[in-house]
Symmetry: C2
Subunit: 364 residues, 2 copies
């Protein structure tokens, strides 16, 4: 299934605002450029230009790869001595255009100035950000595939934790203390073996904030929060958070896990276009019903070409069918630890639909 | 060893240009923000503000993690309803500043406009890009560590290729055809197991351009170019390219490999501050001496927080001691395939010094 390219959305915006062109400039990992350019891995600065007639990609390197994947009309060389913004202005001049050029608000300042120096009026638009909120079937399929890799990583985390044994009061794995860092590397290797990128994996032990290099060892009974946000080759993210306890005593952590699981089960059905503002209410009500204080960190956020993107679950943001969100619930107690669960959910007319499935059990 | 934070370079630039502050706004993977902010994994937009007195990071999420790693004076909340540029202007106003604000040329256009609306004059500076060219010992050490992960990935590629056998004219591995994609996943898992990110791995078979999803199978005698550019948790890159042939006939590919290896050996000693413009000349001369046409794709480029960054090997760019470059040589023949070798090299007074070492043999 081919990914969508919303040149038509952009062109509609050009018509509505009586503008000559849409322009953005940035690096390969810029979400707007990924969405419109689909250019894959390109070194240096890129630009996308959309007019009523034509969609163009300016790319410094790997133009062969870019030509293969760009869904627009032409790929032009860039880079070298001439700044990208100046090249874009020259392309617009060659097309005989004038008037207003729309850009995302984050277009590089120098590119905007080159356009203004060439006589164009620069105005900002959120058309691409808006278009990105509701995912197409093809985008959701990519996110499902990435989420499968998250599940593979989580399976590896559970398998490693399950294979530990207690030694001098902490967990040993393969004859050495299991640290958050060792666990992360095992998880990341499993995610990479699925063809996905694993840059964000975070392992939090006993409620401590997770850092990539943590040499924290793990003790029996401590909560281990495994937070995965793998990214696919097209830039789309998944999100999966689970909490494990090895040799738990079944007290606080067990009740906290039930609260978190209950909260997800109550909130997921609310993820419909009408239900947006009730999702967080449901999450918090369920946590409260289990006798815990709701956490300000529980909630939901859009997931796509960015780890956090629109929609929010504020009343101010629409929740369209097709939006993909992480629902993320956290129960914390400074004396006991943190239980956190997050799943990836797509919005449908009838409520949320899980993308991927992984058991929520505390026991690895 | 702690990574450098060139607030002093920035402050010198503020003094030289009689400016009140340096400001940049962007996402966590922006090289300038990584260099100055060291903020790790933060969702949403970030800003760094450097004045004569103080260095501040504005971060939307994970302020605890950001506070821990930011080497400046304070971490302030950002995100939410107020645009980052407006917040930055308010911070400068609170400090009683006025006059010129320096920014990289790529500062988001809206941030520049917010600053101008608050009465500041915005002017661009390359001070951070300039500071990034010569790596400190601590940065080079990070790059060596990343390069070790590249070597681990390459060892895995060689091991997989070595374990193949010929079946129906192509290479099988673990009872199924070995594709470029399967080989990439094995390599990426090995890189991730070393704690590094493997987003750029590219496998090119028989001179074809490499794509991340390639289902290309591999035949005996075909050249397999394995191109690795892993990235460490701090953002620094390595680069390692090797070419393998399983069951080669020892003809063209063997001679091409000798030419590429000879070219690297001849060019590496030229990587001193005086030798910059002779490096490419040496590469090409050596390839020619072996009876091949020099490739326009052979050359060198800086490697650091970006896969390609300054210095270039143009006569226009300085080659300071401490700069880290990839030297990348390619010998191609449409009828025979491509042999490509690249190593990571640090510039010293006496010529280049290899970071990491991996055999250059064609045989896996």
């Amino acid at each position: 299934m081919t990914l969508p390219v919303p040149f038509e959305h952009v062109r509609e915006e050009l018509r509505d605002r009586d503008a000559a062109a849409f322009v953005h400039v940035g690096r390969e990992d810029d979400p707007t450029l990924r969405y419109l350019g689909r250019a894959g891995r390109v070194d240096g600065e890129l630009a996308v230009v959309v007019t009523a007639e034509s969609a163009m990609l300016l790319a410094a390197d790997a133009p062969a790869a870019a030509r293969e994947s760009f869904p627009g009309d032409s790929v032009l060389p860039a880079g070298g001595e001439i700044p990208t913004g100046e090249r874009v202005a020259a392309v617009l001049d060659d097309l005989g255009l004038s008037g207003t050029v729309l850009t995302p608000r984050t277009v590089p300042h120098d590119a905007a100035l080159y356009l203004e120096q060439s006589g164009y009026e620069v105005a900002s638009t959120a058309v691409v950000e808006d278009a990105r909120v509701a995912k197409t079937d093809a985008e959701r399929l990519r996110q499902s595939t990435v989420q499968s890799a998250a599940c593979a990583g989580m399976r590896r985390a559970a398998a490693v934790l399950d294979a530990t044994h207690v030694h001098e009061g902490r967990l040993d794995w393969e004859d050495a203390p299991l640290t958050a860092l060792r666990l992360r590397r095992e998880v990341d290797a499993a995610v990479a073996a699925e063809g996905m990128l694993s840059g964000y994996t975070a392992i939090g032990v006993d409620g401590e904030p997770a850092t990539p290099r943590s040499e924290t060892t793990i003790e029996p009974g401590q909560t281990v929060v495994v937070d995965l946000a793998p990214q696919g080759p097209d830039g789309y993210h998944g999100r999966l958070v689970r909490t494990f306890v090895v040799d738990g005593d079944g007290g606080w952590t067990r009740r906290a896990q039930l609260a978190a699981e209950g909260a997800l089960d109550a909130a997921i059905p609310q993820l419909s276009p009408d239900g947006g503002d009730s999702v967080v209410t449901e999450l918090d009500a369920e946590v409260t019903a289990y006798g815990f204080e709701p956490s300000p960190d529980s909630g939901g956020y859009g997931v796509g070409l960015e780890r956090h993107e629109r929609p929010t679950l504020d009343a101010t943001d629409e929740l369209p069918v097709g939006a993909v969100l992480a629902l993320d619930v956290r129960v914390s107690d400074p004396a006991e630890g943190t239980v956190r669960l997050a799943d990836l959910v797509a919005v449908t007319e009838d409520g949320g639909e899980l993308l991927g499935a992984f058991p929520r059990s505390l026991s690895p």
